[in-house]
Symmetry: C2
Subunit: 357 residues, 2 copies
């Protein structure tokens, strides 16, 4: 039985970039024996437009049945005035939580051909290859109680809860150690144990899990120092593991070190090996519909999907190689092109990858 990929194009440039990723999937089907079926469903603003909710029930039902989900991006200014629970981000947070996608893998990889795009000096970032493992279904993103309440003195106060249980920490730590075993065998756990009790427990549990991975060199770093070290000497890191909120901040900083966030995919996995794959960049409403967006992060998300959810490592390697080849050929979308240099369109870039497969 062929496996199912659910496509969630979403908003902004989402549909354009997912369309190019679909071309790659189709080429793998017709030319390289990949046996998958694809289906499409709305999410985010598109979900609200189609069904009055950023995560329509039908979309979630299809996602649960799929072997893997490929997401474009969500969000756009036309949805900014909606009540909180109907805004596009709610669709994203909702599908992560409902599918139990607790492990978010975010590579920050510098492509040698694109080293000049970084705002950092070449020697500081050349060869950069960090994998950030971010906890994605817990922490302050989902902790209860939360809200805005009136106090006795008549003033309002906002409150949120940061909470992690031992088992939540343990399972993300295992993913991180497993990831480190497949890479450079160095893991840096990032916390704020000098201030937060949650971090104290985090550190203790990560240490304990580490006993099962004697080959992995484990270190701990405070989050403020980690933010500094990413700027100062980012190549010191191999795998980093951290909470939902710290991971949100650090992975965005890390990806920007590469200078080309249009190139970076991500994977969000659950305990059953199901995964959702998406570029780390946003929906870029300012350039949506103009055919200039970079589809490579989405195409590389297909590669992660093949590797992590479908066990098709050889095909994943093929996609990675094709992307490397188009870069070597000098093809650049507008976000990557040097000032004044010619840029290819979203479609031309997608076609070039297909040709290189």
């Amino acid at each position: 039985m062929s496996r199912k990929i659910l496509l969630l194009p979403g908003d902004g440039i989402g549909p354009e970039i997912v369309a190019e990723a679909v071309k790659v999937i189709e080429a793998l089907k017709t030319r390289h024996g990949l046996d998958v079926e694809t289906e499409e469903a709305p999410i985010g603003g598109a979900g609200y437009d189609a069904a009055g909710h950023p995560l329509p029930e039908a979309t979630l039902a299809k996602a649960r049945e799929a072997d893997a989900v490929l997401l474009g991006a969500v969000g756009g200014p036309q949805y900014d005035k909606l009540p909180r629970e109907l805004r596009p981000e709610r669709g994203l947070l909702g599908i992560r939580k409902s599918m139990g996608l607790f492990a978010n893998l975010r590579p920050a990889l510098l492509y040698p051909e694109l080293a000049e795009a970084s705002t950092l000096k070449r020697e500081v970032v050349e060869g950069l290859d960090i994998m950030i493992v971010r906890e994605l279904t817990g922490g302050i993103y989902f902790g209860e109680p939360r809200g805005i309440r009136e106090r006795e003195d008549g003033q309002r106060e906002g409150f949120n809860t940061l909470v992690y249980s031992e088992s939540e920490i343990e399972r993300i730590a295992r993913v991180a150690f497993d990831t480190a075993m497949k890479r450079g065998k160095r893991l840096c756990s990032v916390d704020k144990a000098n201030v937060l009790e949650v971090s104290e427990l985090w550190r203790e549990v990560v240490e304990r899990v580490g006993l099962d991975y004697p080959e992995v060199e484990l270190s701990h770093m405070y989050v403020d120092n980690a933010a500094m070290q990413l700027v100062r000497a980012p190549k010191q890191f191999d795998v980093m593991v951290t909470t939902n909120m710290f991971g949100d901040i650090l992975s965005d900083a890390a990806s920007m070190l590469t200078g080309s966030i249009g190139m970076l995919p991500s994977a969000s996995l659950n305990a059953d090996g199901q995964g959702m794959y998406e570029p780390i960049h946003g929906s870029a409403p300012d350039i949506a519909g103009r055919g200039v967006a970079n589809p490579l992060a989405t195409i590389l998300s297909v590669s992660m999907l093949l590797r992590h959810s479908l066990g098709e490592a050889a095909l994943a390697d093929r996609v990675d190689a094709a992307v490397g080849q188009v870069l070597k050929q000098g093809l650049r979308t507008a976000d990557l092109a040097a000032a004044g240099a010619p840029a290819v369109s979203t479609r031309e870039m997608g076609d070039a990858v297909v040709a290189a497969l």
Copy 2:
């Protein structure tokens, strides 16, 4: 009556760098009519060694009476095994909270003479001058309830509370807007309003305070994007205002953009105009006692102290100019010296600033 400055040298390189700052204060007294008295007290590990607590009662009492406090740094490996409530950081957090030092001003300023020290390309950071206004006595650092508890299923969980009241947000917002009025009149408030209710209230209150400052251009940015923008195009920022935790992370990232955290001072102010001043770098136990630490961040903290707590703007300008002059003369401590270039000692640097006053 002469005003009082309490000196808290603390741990590691703290005593060495504070000694140089004291030379500057003495020179201002004898040669430029500054009328202050200084006294010294232990804090951090030194507080624990002297009185069994990182914030001895006598130290706090003296701090409350002083017009301003000058802190070196706290922390060292010999205190790492102490119980949480006796560790050096507790002294720092304790004095911030007890004195109500809610407004932490952290400049990230690039000295033109030191532009090469940055890991970022010169054109990205040349002229960088950001002021981060960090809330310092609230948020998740101090929120209750907090702790590690056992759940019904026998598992433990760690929990912390992020909480801000309207008045807490309002007073830090006022400091930020006032700061912006004295600078480029642009304020960026950083939050995570797409996820956290606290941030929703934060944004609302900052907007409201902004009505009193029609000349200040106010913008809002999500914290993950702010971390990216600091790497991508840091010069877009003038003043940033944010919570305790986000400020901890972003101010460290911002300071590292300059490449010379040995140069950056900070001020922590309360509602009565009292302030504590300290370099943003740590106690650097690895180089403590060797006379190689850079005293300039502490000397520049004296300048902030003169300006913010003593109303001595002219003397503050004099200190700033003296620091600028020694840099122009080419004097560099080891942290700033180019590889292989000669470096001056902590004392030589202090003496040079005194001579340049």
